[in-house]
């Protein structure tokens, strides 16, 4: 039941933070997140008091007035409010005190235990109320005629309200959990999108090199390993810009072996603050796109240019490559859908703060990306 334990929290931290709320505290919340809200918090108690007051209002409206208890509506509302607030606050105190214990239980056990605690508290507050009335002389005996009826009535109301509330908390948490796991699954799928075509072609090239140029083959295997390590990495989602550039270069080295003189790449890298980071495998898929859609379809190949710089806390990336006419559609998904995918991935990380645009200018395709520079968490 406790699904939150199954997730790799360190990986989740960052984009859950982005997904749920741009509040740095939420990552700590997530570690201990439980379907029961924290009733030790002032905000939660204020919410509770307000809900309890509404309940008191409803009860006083359905009460017959005048009755043995109250002579008019205002008195009824006043006394019922006090009584309901007592129960509500006592319940909050009960859940606050038992929180450390409850959060250690599996969800269904915590649910049942919390429910029983809440009913017990209702019973005790009821009993106290009767004793107070007797002690102040309002009633003649601590066991008046309506004693059993009072307990029955109040416990029933408490049972219904508490069941509704706990049910609500549980559903809400499950929904939240599902959103998180969906986002995570989607991101993993996007991250591990290695094109099989690239892998097997590269392996074939390496097999060829082992005979003709063992040194080059060795380097190629090292580059390949590095690339795989990045793609299989589940811990890190954000890496320093320089590391990302390094991996992109390794990828290009492999493609250069394969495409030989058909691929020319020019780099222009500006200065980056040491702390500038970007999502893992941001550059590589952009370059892979440039090669599959811009260079490979041309018999004589083409040039890819990569420019990276930092400008007012924004990482700017600009990639241009030839834009051959898309007469053949056998090169997998077309360029727009491939870039849409990357856009989607940025959205998971940055929300609306990342931008990616692409356009065709004369015979070249230009892709511009801006990402916020972030401090490493």
């Amino acid at each position: 039941m406790d699904a939150s334990k199954k997730f790799d929290l360190s990986r989740l931290r960052f984009f859950v933070r982005e997904l749920m709320a741009p509040n740095p505290d939420i990552k700590l919340e997530l570690r201990t997140q439980h379907f029961l809200p924290n009733f030790c918090e002032g905000k939660m108690i204020i919410n509770l008091v307000m809900i309890a007051e509404m309940l008191a209002l409803v009860i006083s409206l359905v009460m017959p007035v005048p009755s043995i208890f109250f002579s008019n509506y205002f008195e009824a509302l006043f006394q019922i409010s006090i009584f309901v607030q007592w129960i509500a606050l006592a319940c909050a105190a009960g859940l606050c005190l038992s929180r450390t214990y409850l959060t250690r239980l599996p969800n269904h056990m915590a649910l049942i235990t919390a429910y029983l605690i809440l009913l017990l508290i209702t019973f005790l507050v009821n009993e106290c109320a009767v004793w107070v009335l007797w002690w102040t002389g309002k009633i003649a005996s601590p066991r008046p005629a309506w004693y059993a009826h009072l307990h029955f009535q109040n416990l029933s109301i408490s049972a219904i309200i508490n069941a509704l509330m706990l049910g609500y908390f549980l559903t809400k948490q499950e929904l939240k959990q599902r959103t998180i796991s969906e986002a995570q699954a989607k991101m993993q799928a996007l991250q591990s999108r290695i094109r099989p075509h690239f892998v097997f072609n590269a392996m074939n090239i390496i097999a060829s090199l082992t005979r003709s140029d063992p040194k080059k083959a060795e380097t190629a295997i090292e580059d390949m390993s590095e690339l795989f390590r990045m793609m299989l990495n589940e811990e890190e989602t954000l890496v320093p810009v320089n590391k990302e550039i390094d991996v992109a270069r390794k990828y290009l080295a492999l493609e250069e072996l394969r495409l030989d003189s058909r691929l020319q790449v020019t780099w222009d890298i500006g200065k980056f603050p040491r702390k500038a980071i970007m999502p893992i495998l941001t550059l590589q898929p952009l370059l892979e796109n440039a090669i599959t859609h811009g260079v490979e379809p041309l018999p004589s190949g083409g040039a890819v240019s990569v420019t990276l710089w930092e400008e007012e806390d924004i990482i700017k990336i600009r990639i241009t490559h030839p834009a051959p006419k898309q007469k053949k559609k056998d090169i997998g998904p077309d360029i727009d859908s491939a870039l849409e995918n990357i856009k989607q991935r940025f959205h998971t990380y940055y929300g609306d703060r990342a931008k990616i645009r692409w356009e065709r200018q004369d015979n070249r395709f230009i892709i511009s990306v801006s990402l916020p520079v972030r401090d490493i968490m």
Binding site: P196, H197, V199, F200, N201, M203, N204, I205, I206, A207, S208, L209, R211, S212, L257, R258, L259, D260, R262, E296, P297, L298, P299, K327, K328, K329, D330, I331
Partner: protein
């Protein structure tokens, strides 16, 4: 056996050549880097077997194989590919020889022994099984047992004769065995039907004119010849012309 190797990657060609030499009993008589080169070299060198990559720039392996079918004595073709799930399934179904990259020596030796000739039907089915079907980039024309590739972009019009179809480029005329219905199906976006017997490249249409007798004619860029528009197609041809001029 005499073998022709076709792959756009040099190192991939090197590997095939080395493996063929290791196996022994065969000679590599040439190499090509694209589908176009495959057709040209095959026509020139007459190999027994073609080892050909599917994905290549320009003309791909499947299209090259289709053109080769028209040779008097077409070579057996063994396709090589890194990954193309849909095509592979079709290869299995149609019993076409293929090798997966990285190429293994034992597999290659095996394939060379039992290399088979392809049929037009097999190729058609493989093309249909691919995710995105594609039109040919060239039309192959046979001249005295030889093959000539005419880029589709150079063709001004197709004109159906009784038994053949005339393929007209700015410079020359060729005869092919095909039907206008098939050509229209394959290149429908590029060509406009103006008559029961004529498909004209939209890019080559110069003007649509009315001649003194009241019927319509299409004049074609670069060619001093006008083609008749049939009464049945006049409306659609004029509609196309109107849309084009309003663009």
């Amino acid at each position: 056996m005499r073998i022709l190797i076709v792959d756009d990657e040099k190192l991939a060609r090197d590997r095939l050549r080395e493996l063929v030499n290791d196996i022994g009993g065969h000679t590599v008589i040439g190499e090509g880097r694209s589908g176009n080169e495959a057709v040209e070299k095959a026509a020139e060198l007459n190999p027994d077997i073609l080892l050909m990559d599917i994905r290549m720039p320009g003309m791909d392996g499947l299209e090259a194989a289709m053109h080769l079918m028209g040779m008097e004595n077409p070579p057996s073709v063994i396709f090589t590919t890194a990954y193309d799930q849909h095509a592979l399934d079709a290869f299995e179904v149609n019993a076409v020889d293929y090798l997966l990259k990285p190429i293994r020596k034992d597999r290659l030796a095996n394939a060379l022994v039992k290399a088979r000739k392809l049929t037009q039907k097999q190729l058609k089915e493989i093309n249909e099984a691919r995710e995105e079907q594609q039109e040919r980039t060239h039309i192959s024309v046979h001249m005295r047992g030889n093959i000539r590739l005419v880029p589709v972009t150079d063709i001004c019009y197709f004109l159906a004769d009784s038994k053949y179809v005339v393929v007209r480029t700015a410079q020359e005329e060729h005869l092919i065995e095909d039907s206008l219905v098939n050509l229209e199906k394959e290149f429908g976006e590029r060509y406009l039907r103006i008559h029961r017997n004529a498909l004209v490249a939209r890019a080559f249409i110069n003007a649509i004119e009315k001649n003194p007798s009241g019927s319509w004619q299409v004049s074609i860029k670069g060619i001093d010849k006008k083609l008749d528009v049939s009464r049945r197609h006049a409306a659609s041809v004029r509609r196309w012309a109107r849309n084009k001029s309003s663009d």
